[in-house]
């Protein structure tokens, strides 16, 4: 009896949490599939009419795909650059004999905790002085800076957990530092690399504040900023905003689902006796 009660209350809690977390997403997914009339109907209709009108409108009238392109460029290159730097930095911090390692790791953590607003002014000034405002690199640079601590931390801890003997074996089998890194370490730390990549991509994809500050020209604006600016002085295009939000969310959901297995899979099983 006690067990059944426990199970029921556990299930209820899970359902409640899932419901609350998914509610906003379901809401705007629902809205995006309604017709113009249904969006503002009173009383509201609960079921969508499965019309793709708002998607067409968001693409045709609001340049949705243009924002998607910008977001892909910015988030994609930020992820790539951060990963490359974080892999080298993480490996160095995990394995090489460096003085003040703890201090460096602590410093990284500290930097990542600065509130964005406190660095917004200097960042803007620096970018303005080198003429990088309203350029892709102008946004990629701060994103790389902001996501690096996270990337380095994740990768360093993954590299640290790999058995040292594997690296020794690789060195004896004729690998240099780089070959060891690329042929043995990175394949084994793949779950870590994917985790870092996804988190960095999500951050860059969703970031709003710097994007708004640095990209003042529509040509370079990313999705979050673009969606926010759908709203006109006298109009509030709820349907198009919902459609654009759905388009902004789905790649992330797909990404996580796609790589979940890789993240969970314990690749290093069988490396050593266990």
């Amino acid at each position: 009896m006690k067990r059944i009660c426990g199970n029921i209350s556990f299930s209820l809690t899970v359902i409640l949490i899932v419901f609350l977390s998914l509610l906003p997403f379901v809401w705007f997914l629902n809205t995006s599939l309604k017709t113009q009339l249904n969006v503002t109907a009173i009383p509201p209709t609960l079921l969508p009419s499965f019309s793709f009108h708002f998607y067409q409108s968001a693409i045709a009238n609001y340049g949705l795909l243009h924002y998607v392109k910008n977001s892909l460029i910015v988030a994609g290159s930020s992820t790539l650059i951060t990963l490359i730097i974080a892999i080298f930095a993480g490996y160095a911090l995990a394995r090489l004999k460096i003085k003040h390692k703890g201090l460096i790791m602590g410093g990284l953590l500290l930097v990542s905790m600065f509130p964005q607003i406190s660095i917004a002014g200097p960042v803007w000034k620096i970018l303005a002085s080198i003429g990088w405002l309203n350029t892709y690199q102008g946004l990629v640079l701060p994103y790389v800076t902001l996501t690096l601590p996270l990337g380095v931390w994740i990768l360093a801890s993954f590299f640290k957990e790999l058995p040292k003997e594997l690296e020794d074996a690789a060195k004896i089998d004729g690998c240099g530092h780089f070959q060891t890194l690329f042929k043995v370490i990175i394949p084994l730390a793949a779950p870590g690399v994917f985790t870092a990549a996804i988190l960095i991509f999500i951050y860059s994809w969703n970031e709003f504040f710097f994007a708004l500050l640095i990209m003042t020209k529509q040509k370079y604006q990313t999705l979050p900023v673009g969606i926010a600016l759908f709203q006109g002085q006298y109009t509030m295009p709820w349907g198009e905003i919902a459609a654009a939000s759905t388009v902004a969310t789905i790649p992330l959901v797909l990404l996580v689902f796609l790589f979940q297995k890789r993240i969970v899979r314990g690749l290093s099983a069988g490396a050593i006796k266990g």
Binding site: L166, K171, D173, C175
Partner: protein, 355 residues
Amino acid sequence: MAEIRFEKVEKRFGDVVVVRELDLTAHDGEFFTFVGPSGCGKSTILNMIAGLEPVSKGRIFFDNAVVNDLTPKERDVAMVFQSYALYPHMTVHKNIAFPLKMKKIPDATIDNEVRRIAELLGLEDLLKRTPKELSGGQRQRVALGRAIIRRPRVFLMDEPLSNLDARLRVEMRAELKRLHHELKITTIYVTHDQSEALSLSERIAVLDKGEVQQCGTPREVYSKPANIFVGGFIGSPPMNFVHATIRGLDPLRIDCQSFIISPQHEITPEHNSVTVGIRPEDIVVTDKKSENCVEIAVSLVEPAGSFNWIDFVWGNIKMKGTGKLDIDISAGDRAFITFPPDKVTLFDTASGMRL
């Protein structure tokens, strides 16, 4: 294939000296073993030969060429690790092929070589599997295969058998001996298991606290231990030690707990106080009194198959000896021991060195 020579090699980590004054040579094609308790510096020595750890002082030679500053790749050594260290993301085939791939040898040649090695080690049917699908013994074979495929100048083995179960260990021991006989590559082996060292090696260096205590053939270190440490470490069960006093030199008369023995040793002791080492396998425990026997109290009888190990107390010293299977004694009984006086080893009690 190479001769490896250590010249006053020292290794420190910070202020801690892990290996000191290492001065010895492993001959070309020899099976040479470093044996000692954990923390004696034996693995560090192996890592220094491999080039994984820098040498703090002194020089290491491969065939008269100093290798101190060479990378592991340049030294052309192969190593088998205690944990096997197989690459988990590669199949057995790729694991074995890896060192040749790094040498940029054509794929067709590599494939032939891998098949030859797989045949040698009985791995033909496992080439497509990944390490996690293998048993401990199979992983061990793959690790060996990866090491021998290169025909390295030196073979390094860091406790390669200690993760295997007892039966497999004995099998692999024979396998290693066979491989060494076939390949004739200089092999440096590290283990804490003295019986492994005795059965595999042509020569052994016994290490303690970073220093070589004795270097010699298995028979030498067993029958003529250089000091009390080697006597106690080599041989299983370990040697018994009894404090004794010299009563006369010509003929030699030693007072072992009031029992006088006269071994035919010619010694010139500095002190009267000596330690007598007696191998348990030289002591015979009987229930019948005879000439030249000592009365003792039995504390434990351990059957060992064809005979019994018998723990007993002589005076106040706990010792071990052997008894026949049909002996009629049990713990608590009084019994008698005899041992051939010429088989004892005498040590200077103060310095611990053999006399």
